[in-house]
Symmetry: C2
Subunit: 307 residues, 2 copies
């Protein structure tokens, strides 16, 4: 029952200094301190699309739903402040499921000192839906946008790509701290997180920026999972294909001026590797250059909601 669940959650949630008013009223009241702008993002995940509830621990689903949202804040170099969480729960076993979803996401919220400001918990005859809205602030270095990449900028990525379906799409670490640290120490022109796929998210970035990009395919950091997944499928796809198209890597693609990129790559200030995989160009579109220097169009591939 909804009121039982809310009672459980109020008991479970530690008080948070940002919350003047948390669960239990019609809305939450969040202290913003000196912030004069806030960053807002929402992500909705559904059973059979973003996860298969029958095949996973619901705690992983809860964690993923929050982590995917945090990745969107990372893509803005925003510091997370608070979350509101809306659930549509299958009628049968909904209370247990809700508890497990929260048990999965609360440790991540604590890790990022995120206030759980409120929620809406519903039951219905449909499959599980989890929708999380996050609010964040900007650091003093400002905002990392999608639409500011300039020709000549280097394409720099965090981590490695491909085959996240083998498990990484549940236990990835959103690049929140990494984005804030990079924004603090380097001049970044633009950035996006890779949720749909390295090539399609790069296409989103160049489209918003009104430019193009050339990817050196030999430089793309291919995840071990991409190799394993290509072997498992044995359908002729290569590990590189998976790195470019699989999605849910939740790494960052950054547009960095050449001198800054050089410094950043030399310093490697993160625990996760930074790699330059090409450069932005004036002509709109995506190209790839292979190890032999042959250049051709790169067809953006990845996840798109068709409706």
């Amino acid at each position: 029952m909804e009121s039982q669940f809310i009672a459980w959650l109020r008991e479970r949630l530690p008080p948070h200094p940002l919350l003047r008013l948390g669960l239990g009223d019609d809305a939450a009241v969040l202290r913003l301190a000196e912030a004069d702008e806030c960053v807002l993002t929402v992500d909705l995940l559904t059973d059979h699309v973003d996860f298969e509830l029958s095949e996973v621990d619901p705690r992983q689903v809860g964690r993923k739903a929050l982590a995917a949202n945090l990745s969107d804040l990372a893509a803005m170099a925003s510091r997370p402040l608070a979350a509101v969480i809306a659930l549509a729960l299958p009628r049968r076993g909904g209370m247990d499921l809700a508890v497990q979803l929260y048990e999965g996401l609360l440790p991540l919220a604590e890790q990022y000192d995120l206030a759980i400001a409120g929620g809406d918990t519903n039951s219905w005859d449909g499959p599980l839906v989890v929708s999380i809205t996050l609010i964040g602030t900007l650091t003093e270095r400002g905002l990392l946008r999608r639409d500011r990449a300039r020709p000549g900028d280097r394409i720099v990525v965090t981590g490695s790509f491909g085959g996240s379906i083998l498990g990484r799409h549940f236990d990835f670490e959103p690049r929140v701290r990494e984005a804030m640290l990079l924004m603090e120490r380097y001049r970044l022109h633009a950035g996006i997180d890779v949720s749909d796929g390295l090539s399609i998210d790069l296409a989103h970035l160049v489209q918003e920026s009104g430019c193009g990009a050339v990817v050196q395919t030999a430089a793309v950091p291919v995840a071990g999972d991409a190799h394993r997944f290509a072997r498992q499928l044995a359908d002729g796809s290569t590990p590189l294909d998976h790195a470019l198209a699989d999605g849910e890597d939740f790494e960052l693609i950054l547009a960095v001026p050449p001198d800054e990129a050089q410094r950043m790559l030399a310093e490697q200030p993160l625990e996760v590797p930074l790699t330059a995989i090409g450069r932005f160009v004036a002509e709109p579109g995506l190209w790839q250059i292979d190890a032999e220097g042959v250049q051709c169009r790169l067809q953006p591939q990845g996840w798109q909601h068709e409706f």
Copy 2:
């Protein structure tokens, strides 16, 4: 296709002075001006629970989803600033449906000068889900909470109750301006909006406030719809039963000190009537007194999510 829909929406949305960055990036950036606190609320509506998509114009669904959320801000006496909107669309006809949902909610957003800051638009094989998160600010008179009703306060309500299922649950006006005006002119102790039902939401209010309430049933403003609905059902239920239990009236219940209540009722400062329907008492629980002065327990009834 998601990108086509986003292109349509970006075209459709007027620029909003509060939005430094709207649709098209990983997150939106909202100007908060001098606000040092914000109010956050989320509401998730699902097909077959909150509406029957096959029986209504999707524009009504879009409007209701936003209006129900606005009602939560009204219950805090908060001024709406911005919305983020997450959709799970059935795969077939999803683009048309998304357009119609927005066509229903956008006029209401414009009416309240609300910025549509962003969203997440998904497709899946399940029924329609609409989840809206609103962010608002507080006026100088502060916050209308649930947990501050005091014994002796009058129970004052806006509008009338019952039978909203006949249509009012789609075209109700959220009491946003009314709440701000009352908060500005009168000393209010507590408030809640009636989404689940007059008696159950009053029960929520007294539970949070640690007190009780006595309702004079003869004073409860019974909507014309409650009479019509009772006649239609012809199951022995009375119009008053419907006024107390139906829910989705989206009117306000306020706890007002007696002198203030007297002034407020005499002045009737709203277009919608204000009615005193009883008083708060020290002993926890709900009671009703009928026209003959007979007092008995009032069983809170209304909508509860069972899971």
